[in-house]
Amino acid sequence: MKQITAVFVAIFCWVAPALAAIEIKELKTPGGFTVWYIPEPAIPMISLEIGFRGGPLLDPDDKAGAAYLMTGLLEEGAGEYDSVAFAKRVEELSASFDFDATTEAITISTQFLKANTDEVVELLRLSLNEPNFDDVAFARVKAQVQSIVARRATDQGDIASDYFNSVAYANHAYGRPFQGTEQTIANLTQDDVRDAHKRSFAKDRIYIGAVGDFTEAELSDIVDKLFSALPETGGDFPDTTEFAAASTTHIVEFDSPQSIAVWGHEGIKQDDPDFFPAFVMNRILGGGGFGSRLTEEVRVKRGLTYGVSSYLASRDLAQFYGGQVASSNDRIADAIDVIRSEWKRMAEGGVTDEELEDAIRNMTGSYVLRFDGNAQIASILRYSQMDNFPIDYPANRNSFIEAVTKEDIARVAKRLLREEDLFFVVVGNPEGLEAEVVTRN
């Protein structure tokens, strides 16, 4: 395989020009909105990605789930349209609207044909600014959310992450499921949903990305039509918080042939000067699928799992470093031992030159693969703003990764990875594991 080894060193020459070709433009509309966009006339369609920071994070504790339920109601009637008329109108216009709530944001993804722009924009404007939240749709969607929350309560993976968060962020909005609980959802009223709407959508928390067949003037007009009527500000954001779980292992008993384990400890902020070294280190430890140490040691060498990974969870108001694995009940203890020893090995020894080279080559080379289609690119433009990156970040991102040295990683690994501090949650009937059996809160 001489030939093969010979060709793959050429990759660096290619990466930079490809990304430079993706030139992101910034628009300030007369209405005061900032939009990142790329014109793409090849297909007569427009992809618009909108994000509102906060979302479910702004729900009071006793109203947890209100923003999630409200988001589900946005396509259930607005203005003169009831839910059926609204849905029919979306079908007539062949538009696609996707309203979604996540832990700390509400996102709206839309795709539509250029020819239908005016009608689609009007419909989207109505759904965002004048949703009906009428009795019938409210009762139906609330029952759907209750059904989802009930199912999450018996889903092994959801139990694991919900329990983990409830301990790690015991006194913070991050500690509760953003979908709400069976109790909080049951008590929600239409007024609660209207309050959530007021809290969530405002000019001071909106982020917009767009790719498609439009001129700058057309895009500016679309954005101002959609968002000019929004209030200046919305609900208050909670304070930042810290990872509060102690270094222990908790078992939540669950009848299943396998156990799911999630683990973590305090992480690193995205604006930390050592974030990029941590990012590359995580790729080598457990973030990169095949080739990462955890996959190699836990899956490939020992066959203890189908999937193991680690991740830097760097959120707006808190951050942790952790991971997840699933193994049969009689082998999960072995998997956890291996993970612990890999955590330690990285903290003490850092990475080799070869590992670092491979990781940099892959991370820089594969970045362009994310720019895969208009909808995908529009969403990158939206979340890059939400992550507070500068507009030239996509063009420069690879150079930040290339600049990471072995010494940088050794430094950040020593500071970040503390095997002795790890909090593990194991859901299942694990054998041979020293841990405290707990009941779910």
């Binding site: 946005l74 044909l113 199912r151 018996t154 299943s256 799992t305 699933a326 892959n362 362009v368």
Partner: protein
């Protein structure tokens, strides 16, 4: 946000890509390798896929899971590549790679910078013929597959329910076996089983090469000739003759209980015709019917009746397994509202089906759906690997490139009469399996 209450594999044709603008070129090598090139010059990226016309439905009796296990083992080295090295090289070239197995196909793909295409071809052609396995790497991988089964099936009541339903719908056809395999059969799979399957089915005359992205078709054909051309065809490739279903003589009704179920539901499935080469009309009518009847939430016929009017259901959906080598299923899912049992949905569904046939097709609704089909042809151009996947699935299901290109127009030309006729043939109770997923009654709340 659509509350997709359950992850069900839905063959929603609204997600079907279109074929019109992405230029498609084809060629066949002397050794039988078929090549499809789909051009997309927006970014210097390429998707490189090899699809084998072999899947779980082609496994020998008692060896369920061997097609999928072999797919895992294809990453375990060749005469010239060490175990794991394939993915390491893709990785080092800034690419991503993976593989997948289903009933009618096994596929391998890489997404990578367009100027890395030749390297991908060289390696993929190599492992088409030069796989080298050792017990040392094969054993732990069998454990990985068992863990995969644990994670995806054995710890998931909905997945176990799906396995159970298949055994009732397919009494003789190997679609009755899960793709991952039955646990007791996976446990006994050997390296020799994998190698026998590999030698029989992995050959250029049983494969389709699909390349989508920023490429010149003539260059792709030349590179394919260089790297795949020397591979020897297999003389063991025969027409795919799987045991077929006998006539079905009585409706099947089943209840699957699991204490972890908090969201009980009903699924009705019918044994249904698939898209056939040069003959896609019946499947097209059923695909459009799925949308009309339960495809789009509250605007669908069933959604309007059960969800809006009766309020007996929270959600409904329907799908048609139209891409399949042998006849497959048409399914309807109903999630009961609180206070209703899944069993109560059965009569309501039957009444709705009868009403649909009595009332006929709503012309406006049909027109809206056709508008969406036309729009989806434009949106699909934005999804390079999606188009590549659809060609792979179609060609391994016995269809031709021409069939794939014709499909949007076949859908567009479906009439109200076609739909009524196809549904009348479909809903023979003897061809049905009605199934309920629920918690045991004594602990159900």
């Amino acid at each position: 946000m659509r509350f997709a209450l359950l992850v069900i594999f839905i063959f929603s044709f609204l997600k079907l890509p279109a074929w019109a603008l992405g230029e498609v070129s084809t060629h066949t090598l002397e050794n039988g390798l078929e090549i499809v090139v789909i051009e997309d010059h927006r970014a210097p990226i390429v998707t490189h896929m090899v699809w084998y016309r072999v899947g779980a439905a082609d496994e020998p009796p008692g060896k369920s899971g061997i097609a999928h296990y072999l797919e895992h083992l294809l990453f375990k080295g060749t005469d010239t590549l060490a175990p794991g090295e394939f993915s390491e090289i893709v990785d080092a070239n800034g690419g991503m790679d993976n593989a997948f197995t289903s009933y009618d196909y096994t596929g391998y793909f890489q997404r990578v910078a367009a100027d890395r295409l030749e390297l991908m071809m060289e390696m993929e052609a190599d492992r088409m013929q030069n796989l080298r396995l050792t017990e040392e790497v094969v054993r732990p991988e069998l454990d990985v597959v068992l863990e995969e089964r644990n994670q995806r099936t054995d710890s998931n009541p909905s997945a176990l329910f799906g396995e159970h339903r298949r055994t009732l719908m397919f009494t003789n056809h190997p679609y009755r076996n899960p793709v991952v395999g039955w646990r007791h059969e996976i446990e006994n799979l050997t390296m020799q089983d994998a190698l026998d399957f590999y030698k029989k089915f992995y050959a250029p005359n049983n494969a389709i090469l699909i390349v989508a992205g920023d490429v010149d078709p003539q260059e792709v054909f030349a590179l394919a000739e260089k790297h795949y051309g020397p591979n020897q065809p297999s003389d063991q490739i025969a027409e795919r003759m799987r045991p077929q279903e006998p006539p079905k003589r009585a409706p099947v009704v089943t209840t699957f209980e699991d204490p972890q179920v908090r969201q009980p539901y009903m699924i009705r499935e019918y044994f249904a015709p698939q898209r056939k080469a040069g003959d896609q009309k019946e499947a097209a009518a059923l695909t459009v019917f799925a949308e009309l009847f339960a495809g789009s939430g509250v605007t669908s016929f069933l959604g309007e009746r059960l969800v809006l009017e009766e309020k007996s259901a929270l959600n409904v959906s329907a799908w048609h397994g139209s891409l399949s080598y042998d006849p497959n299923t048409f399914g309807i899912w109903v999630l009961p509202a609180p206070g209703f049992e899944p069993e109560e949905m059965q009569d309501r569904l039957d009444e709705a089906l009868k009403a649909f046939l009595d009332e006929g097709v709503d012309a406006d609704h049909l027109e809206r759906i056709k508008g969406s089909i036309r729009a989806s042809e434009i949106f699909a151009l934005d999804d390079q690997s999606g188009i590549a996947r659809r060609y792979g699935m179609a060609l391994t299901s016995g269809l031709t490139v021409q069939d794939v290109k014709a499909w949007p127009e076949v859908l567009n030309s479906v009439t109200a009469e076609d739909i009524i006729a196809a549904v009348t043939r479909l809903i023979d109770p003897k061809n049905s399996v009605t199934s309920f997923l629920r918690a045991p009654k004594e602990i159900a709340q």
